[in-house]
Symmetry: C2
Subunit: 348 residues, 2 copies
């Protein structure tokens, strides 16, 4: 394997080491240290000198070398985001929010995607990739096989987990899943439905479990019978399959789907089987995707703020990086019921 080197001999890829401070210094007729001072905006530099250095920088096309800088300061000014299922609605939104929150702080984001959220993959995401190249890590993984006892992180690396599981001993940020599911269920109950069916997300997902339990608890608190759970996997297709089964049962008048995508599949199944929504069956989703307002009929759903989750996660992580102290309490963000046209009182 003929790897190329930076030395003069190599005929290959032409390692383009850009101009360094030394080059700028020579060009401006000052010492490297003065260049460094200018580059870092220190005040104790004569105005004329500063101008001269700035001009020299421009002339030679100087760019600070972040590797050298990181080596020197022991800080990378970047955070890692370990993420699975990136294209997912919630995850991509959250990632975007994280990115937006992190950039103004002068940090950058290193993506560490894992194809499947197994322990090995996650642990590997740390060591294999950027072990030391980040100042902190945000973990955004939905199916948390992650067991804190097994996951092995370098001690002292700040970590924030986006998940409402309490199983970690890292700071945790998430939307309040239980709160949302309770709102959805109560809404249907208050419309007069005698009970509410539920299409659940995959059992490995903590969020899914949380929603399911809260739905069940709400029903029980109201003294209603708890229908058997219909299993889904977040996908529209699974919602469709579940919907086909539900639609066949005339008892079913209200369904709470654990996310909007499954609600969409459910709506399709209801249309196909001639059950009118909301006249015959009411439907509530969860997420409030941009599309949901334009489903047919427009979907009543639970809005959660991925933006807020991202912002809080970054805030907690940066605080930990700066101060060295872990944020204490888990952060649970409130959700909101958005009423549209897919819910109504049950048929008379």
């Amino acid at each position: 394997m003929p790897r190329q080197t930076a030395t003069s001999s190599a005929p290959g890829p032409a390692r383009r080491r850009g101009p360094s401070m030394a080059d700028v210094a020579r060009e401006a007729g000052v010492s490297g240290q003065t260049v460094s001072r200018v580059a870092n905006g220190k005040t104790n530099v004569d105005e004329a000198t500063r101008e001269r250095v700035l001009a020299a920088m421009r002339r030679v096309g100087y760019r600070p070398n972040s590797a050298a800088r990181a080596l020197r300061n022991g800080q990378f000014r970047s955070i890692g985001v370990i993420i699975s299922a990136l294209p997912t609605f919630g995850n991509s939104r959250t990632l975007d929010a994280i990115a937006a929150a992190v950039v103004p702080e002068g940090f950058s984001i290193i993506l560490m995607p894992v194809t499947r959220p197994t322990q090995g993959e996650v642990t590997g995401a740390f060591s294999t990739l950027n072990e030391q190249a980040v100042d902190g890590v945000i973990i955004l993984i939905e199916q948390h096989q992650l067991d804190q006892s097994e996951i092995e992180l370098p001690h002292g690396l700040p970590v924030v987990v986006i998940d409402s599981s309490a199983r970690y001993d890292y700071p945790v940020v998430d939307n309040d899943q239980a709160d949302g599911a309770a709102r959805a269920t109560s809404h249907l109950l208050s419309l007069g439905h005698s009970t509410v069916w539920h299409i659940a997300g995959p059992p490995q997902s903590y969020s899914a479990e949380r929603r399911r339990k809260s739905w069940q608890a709400t029903l029980e608190r109201a003294g209603r019978v708890v229908p058997p759970v219909v299993a889904g996997d977040w996908s529209p297709e699974s919602g469709y399959q579940a919907g086909l089964r539900l639609a066949a049962d005339p008892e079913v008048t209200a369904v709470f789907a654990a996310n909007d995508q499954m609600a969409l599949g459910l709506l399709r199944a209801l249309h196909e089987t001639g059950r009118a929504v909301p006249a015959s069956v009411s439907v509530v989703g969860f997420d409030d995707m941009e599309e949901s307002a334009h489903f047919w009929p427009p979907l009543t759903t639970i809005r959660q703020s991925f933006e807020a989750v991202g912002r809080h996660a970054v805030k907690a992580l940066l605080a930990e990086i700066e101060t060295g102290t872990e944020a204490g309490e888990p952060v649970l963000l409130p959700t909101e019921l958005v009423i549209r046209s897919s819910t109504a009182p049950p048929p008379a």
Copy 2:
């Protein structure tokens, strides 16, 4: 918080410099160089020594410092992705594909989100953030105010643009937008519709323009009248508004929406105004989102492979990084017509 510091004095943020090769070397009773050799899997190390070093590494929790490594070899083994509108369906998919393609090569991804795709922001994304911290850059920006004459990139930094615009002098990869739009339009024509209306994406988007032009060209080639373009902005809401206008015109029997989200809004408008789909109006979308198969009715659409785009972009970029030569021809990936239930012959 008994955080450990390397230096005794500093009371600040607690620089937790991890153990270095020197520490491992001391622990194992060898020189730093031998540790380096073991860490890099060189062969010329005695088996017993290797074991001893490995054990020492484990004991002290050694992790290679990527900053020092990058400084030393002048390579970062990471690529930057400048991206706007991350949560967008296509972009998040593409990003995921890029990530997946890049990881097995031992590269990592640095995200550089830009909130608005202006020149300044994009240029800033380079300099402000990771100027020297990446070996190459993929630009994934839909509204390309980017004018190559103004955008100022460090010379010699490999760049690949994901966009079918030919305006860049960087290698370009994208789905074949024109091909897809032609398929959509032809499909409707072949069903017997006399012409096809179009809800376009925002004019700043090259993809949107490409689709619009191809739709128009296809109509003209077939000798049909070209109805006025209805302007949208990719959002379901804009599709809905456009749909309201279109639905009022009984002439309209076939509509090609420039993406699935607008098609969704259109479907809703059609339902609300009592125009049956596909009996009265046929609809074709573009993208084939996961949801589209479960729209009501299931949407006929153009599938594009974001995965392939991501893969090709990475391939081109890595090739350029390794060899220093730009990939020549733009890569245009073929699209596919997916026929579902939203299209049919026009009403008799």
